[in-house]
Amino acid sequence: MTPARTEEGQVGALAELAHDPSSRSRFLKLMGGGIGAASAFGVFLAACGGDDGGNAAGTTTGAGATTGAQMSSDIKIVNYALTLEYLEADFYAEVIDSGLFKGAQLNLIKVIGDHEAQHVEALKGTVEKLGGTPAMKPKTKFPLDSPTSVLELAATVENLGAAAYLGQAGRIMDKEILAAAISIHSVEARHAAALNVLTGKSPTPDGAFAKPASMDEVLPKVQPFIVS
C-alpha cells in the first residue's frame, strides 16, 4: 500500500531527526533535505488533517501544499527573524570584545552569543532553501557603557526576541518552518529568563502567559541599534 509506505517513510525521517545528537545539524536537516522533502511533509500533514486520521496520507496530491504566496510570506518572516538574530549575534560579539565581563557572566554571554550565531546560520540557510534571498546583515551599534547597562540591554533584547517569535507563530504557513521557529523561540525565552534573573528582574515578567509582539511593535525598538 503506497499510502502506508509514504507514512512509514516520514516516520523514519522524523525518528532520525529526533535521534540526531547534534541539535544544530538536526535543525539544518529539519530545514533542509530539500524543499521537496519539506513540501511533501506539508502535503502529508494536510492530508492527515481530516478527523479520520492518517490512513489517507499520500492519496491526496498537492491539496494542502504550501503555495507560492504562502512560501513568500514565510520567507519574509524568516528574514525578519534573521535580521533580529544578526542584531543579537553582533551585540554579543561586541560585548565579548568589550572586555567588560569575565568569569561566569562572560561564559553565559559566550553561550548565548554562540546560540545566536547558530540561529543566524540556520535561518540564513532556511531562506536559501526556500529559494529566497537572505536579509542583509545590518550594521549595528550598541551602547556598551557598563556591565550593568549591557546586561540590562541584553535582557531587553532577549525578551523582545522571544515576543517577536511568539508574534509570528500563528502567521507561519509551513509546518516545518513553524517547528524550527518554535525550537528557537523557547531558547530565546531561556536566554531572556536567565538575563532577567541576573539583572534582578522576574524571569517571567508577563506572568503565566507570555505576550507576543508584532513586527510593527518590534522593529521600532531595534531601529536605534541599526546604523545602516
Binding site: 525518528a15 500533514l45 525550537s183 536567565a194
Partner: protein
Amino acid sequence: MSDVNMTAPELAAVEIDGMNRSTFILKGALAAGAVYGTWAVSPFVRQALAQELIPGGGEGDIGILNFALTLEYLEATFYQRGQKLKLSGEVMQLAKLIGDHENEHVVALTKTINDLGGTPVPAPMVAFSMKNQGQFLKLAQTLEDTGVGAYNGAAPLIKSKDVLAAAGSIVQIEARHAAAIRLLTGASPAPSAFDEALEPSAVLGAVKPFIK
C-alpha cells in the same frame, strides 16, 4: 482532598486515595509504551491525528490540549508538594511563582478544552520522591525541560490558530521556568541553540516515574 493549600479546585482529584480513572488510563498508555518501546509507539504526527494521546482525552487539538493539561497537573502538584519541603528563601519564592503559573495553565487549558466542546481529563495521581531542595530542583529541571519539549513537539500539529497562540504563550513560560531552575542547579540555562521537540511517547517516558 483536605489540603487547604490547593489553589486550583481541579487539583483535588490528585489527592484522592486509591486509583482514579485518569491514573488507570494513563498507566495503560505507559504500559503500551513499555511494550512497544518508547520510540516505537508511533510518532507524534500519527498519534496526534489518528489516536488519543491521553486515553479519554479526545483527538486533534482537544487531544493535544488534554495531553498538555495532564503535564500541567503534574507540574502544579509537584510545586505544591515542593513548597512543603525545607527550601531556601530564593528557591521557595521561585517554587511559589512557578507553581502559581502552572495552576493558571491548568485553569486556562481546562477552559479552552471546554470551550472547544471537549472534556478535560481529570488530574492524574502522582508521586514524587524528593526529600530535600537538591532533589526538588533536579526534578523541577526535568519536568520543565520535558514540558518545553512536549509543547514544542505538539505545536506544528495544532490546527487552530488560537490554540497555537495559547500553546506558544505557555511554552515560552515553561522555557523561562526551565532557565530559572537551571540557574539554581548550576546547569546552563539554555543547553542548546535549538530546543528539542519531544514525541508524546518520550514525554510519557520522562514523566512515567511520577505517575502512581
